[in-house]
Amino acid sequence: MSVAGLEFALIILILVSAVITAMLRDTLASIIVFGAYSLGMAMLWVVFRAPDVGLTEAVVGAGVMTPLLLLAITKLGREDVERVFAKIRWGPLLGVSVLVVLLLLTVPALPEVGDPDSPTNTHVAPYYIENAYEETGFVNIVTAILVGYRGLDTFGEVTVVFAALVSVLAVLRREELI
């Protein structure tokens, strides 16, 4: 199968699982289909040659979010549902469709994927590509940028993880984690 065909198949998988996730009435079934959606996204990132993002999507989307959501529904309890899919409400669907069409209209204005003259590829990216290995010794340029050139951003992200945990503790009014 050609790469374009594979991309097409994955995009179909993602779109179908996303719609089913939104439509299913049973929360457990919805969570399972959401896992399939994450898997499709992860595979698409790998096809787009972004294995770091693909790995993150697979781990966080399918590996971490699914258990957390499952845990949440064991707390909430499941309702008996008489119908598999929710009723479609046409008003909101029309509104969302208009928004999607408007956003899709802007897509042709974006530079082509991999265009060497696009703004993202003409500022700092050439410097990173030319100097990352010599300056950091990292073969994986993503890591070189993550902990080297953009180390301050990463420091901020890690602080956000820390702050998230502390704020959940504060919201639940607990002083112990476990």
Partner: protein
């Protein structure tokens, strides 16, 4: 629908016991190998946290909580952040810039790459500890029938007749 009580499943139990060491090793590999292959602290840390989720689902909440205890999560999250901060700040003492790893190379002769790896490990610690902590908070945090060891159950609203 009534919530069904938790029952141990032999299939889940056995699969988790077989898989857990390998998944943990994969998480460590991803964390430590971020410099040369896809991955790094964020992904590796999340995989290591997922191992813990697997164990918790297979062996039950109380057993896993008993193994883990409170302290490791605190030390993972706080220690990881402190390690990252130390790596960022110690450079200033060696007349480098904030988050610059080159002074360490000049001081010790060990390549910049390995100092960056320490930062990756620090990220992995914070992410794995943070996710495990959130998992336990979601699990035990809001259930009045199953309060954590330090909680006094739900806090009553002020002025509520009791």
């Amino acid at each position: 629908m009534k919530r069904r009580p938790y029952r141990e499943s032999v299939i889940v139990y056995t699969t988790v016991r077989l898989l857990a060491p390998f998944v943990l090793a994969f998480g460590l590999f991803i964390t430590l190998h971020g410099a040369t292959s896809p991955g790094g602290g964020f992904q590796g840390g999340a995989i290591m946290a997922a191992v813990f989720f697997m164990l918790a689902f297979a062996f039950g909440f109380h057993t896993t909580r008993g193994w883990m205890g409170e302290a490791p999560v605190k030390w993972l999250v706080g220690g990881g952040l402190a390690l990252f901060g130390l790596m960022a700040l110690a450079s200033l003492a060696l007349e480098g810039s904030f988050l610059d790893y080159h002074p360490y190379e000049a001081l010790t002769g060990i390549g910049v790459k390995y100092w960056g790896e320490i930062v990756e490990v620090a990220i992995g610690l914070v992410v794995s500890g943070g996710l495990v902590g959130l998992f336990f908070l979601v699990w035990g945090g809001m259930d009045p029938e199953e309060p954590g060891p330090g909680s006094e159950g739900p806090v009553p609203e002020e002025g509520e007749a009791s």
